[in-house]
Symmetry: C2
Subunit: 337 residues, 2 copies
Amino acid sequence: MVKIAIDAMGGDTGLEVTLPGIVSFSQSYKSDDTEFVIYGNKSLIDKFFAQNPGNFNFSVVDTGCNVISSDENPIHAIRNSHGTSMHEAISAVAEGLADAVVSSGNTGAYMVLSKLLVGTIDGVLRPALVNVIPTKKSKTVMLDLGANTDCNAEKLFQFAKMGNAVANTLLNLNYPTIGLLNIGTEKMKGTEILSRTYDLISEDSTLNFKGFVEGDNIMDGSVDVVITDGFTGNIALKSIEGSVKLVASILKKEIKSSYLSQISYFLGFKKVFKNMCKKLNPSLYNGAPFVGLNGVVVKSHGGSDYVGFAHAIHTATELVRKGFIENIKNSLGKIDE
Amino acid sequence: MVKIAIDAMGGDTGLEVTLPGIVSFSQSYKSDDTEFVIYGNKSLIDKFFAQNPGNFNFSVVDTGCNVISSDENPIHAIRNSHGTSMHEAISAVAEGLADAVVSSGNTGAYMVLSKLLVGTIDGVLRPALVNVIPTKKSKTVMLDLGANTDCNAEKLFQFAKMGNAVANTLLNLNYPTIGLLNIGTEKMKGTEILSRTYDLISEDSTLNFKGFVEGDNIMDGSVDVVITDGFTGNIALKSIEGSVKLVASILKKEIKSSYLSQISYFLGFKKVFKNMCKKLNPSLYNGAPFVGLNGVVVKSHGGSDYVGFAHAIHTATELVRKGFIENIKNSLGKIDE
């Protein structure tokens, strides 16, 4: 069995998304081996499942209305976190009561609490937030996406190791290609830290390093893994989201602009548009694991819908089934060889 | 008259793009007050204009085949730059023989040479590369896009002042809104440098500061000016370019996937697609001025087509006509008041 702890109260809309997300997961993904421990307001959760019964096993741990809010300072939030749905759900993994935890809550608090409770794998300098994003060719693993605003070469080198393991696990790639994000592909470009990271990754024969890549290479499928610090990664990812939204909004506006374009929309373009949205739908890429922790901890986007939350649960179950933590340990272990 | 010095040999394809770009400019934009001094291989340039005569005034300064190549280390390039088309074109502005210079050549060399020859405006810590990009609502000025990989709070504060002047000049906005790019909108988010920059901009009443913005706000029109360091700005811009390309390529593939979608394409969607491309066409946003220099220096993208090069010339002429250097000086002068 795969046992998933759910922080049901986290995210912009809490229970309204997390509970339908669990139901959606059980309908859309392999779930016959999965059971849930749901942390949140028990009376509201029981009421929901009485009205929306699902075909899955779950238990509820009542944490009442104790929630870490999304805009709370992480340090402050952590001090007062005992008894909150997030704290208790993470503790379940730390205590071996669950195999993974999924939360849409305050990213900073989730990260720090997970480090405190679940701990990091031996030798890991800093855990990173990683995700799989769509590209022209297939999919790309990218990290860090916001956990570490400041990174030295050693941290970035470890991100390459960990990204390698994520691509092994989630993309089924044995020897994934790895690129280091920079403002040019020439060796002399960028910062001193990037130049040192370049050398460190180059010297490691277990990594299939392709050198520097640029912002437009993230989505063109140049490499299977893109390595960057959390500041740049977060801004690149959100820039991508923003521009996809812009293109979609221009298309919608243009389609409405004439009768002919409206007719063409209903005739055949509606399906084209739907397929495009399906390929780029952020909900279908939602669920970012923190890598480097001694347990499977998955972050769902705070503003995600239930389809996205279901995908985040799917990511967590896949990581557990495929022995992700062991893969990471093996990948990191190679550093010392 | 507006006199533009053209480095005709720069960029990935040199004369093949720059000379048709001049012709295209004279056909597509206000050019009756414009004349050109073209730096490059005179025999090839004369041959081109003999075959493609245009209705504009120009003279040619023969620099033979002396070119700074795009992948040359800027420091090395500069040492050997005397007599190259780029060096001579920049010198024309420095010596008052031209009002502005446009080049598609090596960005690093162009930046450093311009600083050396044209000089910076008094008090400017570092010039920045700025551009106007399309948004959901209208257009946004963004800087720095790659001139400064490392920025302290004082530099970023000056970028805000200079971005303000660019929005005054190119977007005709009196009191443009300004956002500082970060990985969250809350005051506590991001780096120490950003927090200090936030305070510096906030305290300046001549700037209409809206606080931190995120990557997805670059294109949603939240603010008129986005301030960031050159590393992040370059990667955000290229991420945007890459994702727009990805969406276009998915659309093209999907349109070809069925007869109905192909029919709908020719019926009405072709026009929708064309209008969308027109709105997002990077050529129509090509031409990034270096701000903070004591003259108008515009960088055209090395891989741009002639339509893009024409737009870069247009940007240069607009900056000259609208007294951009004076605007920048005024905007910066307010620091000392």
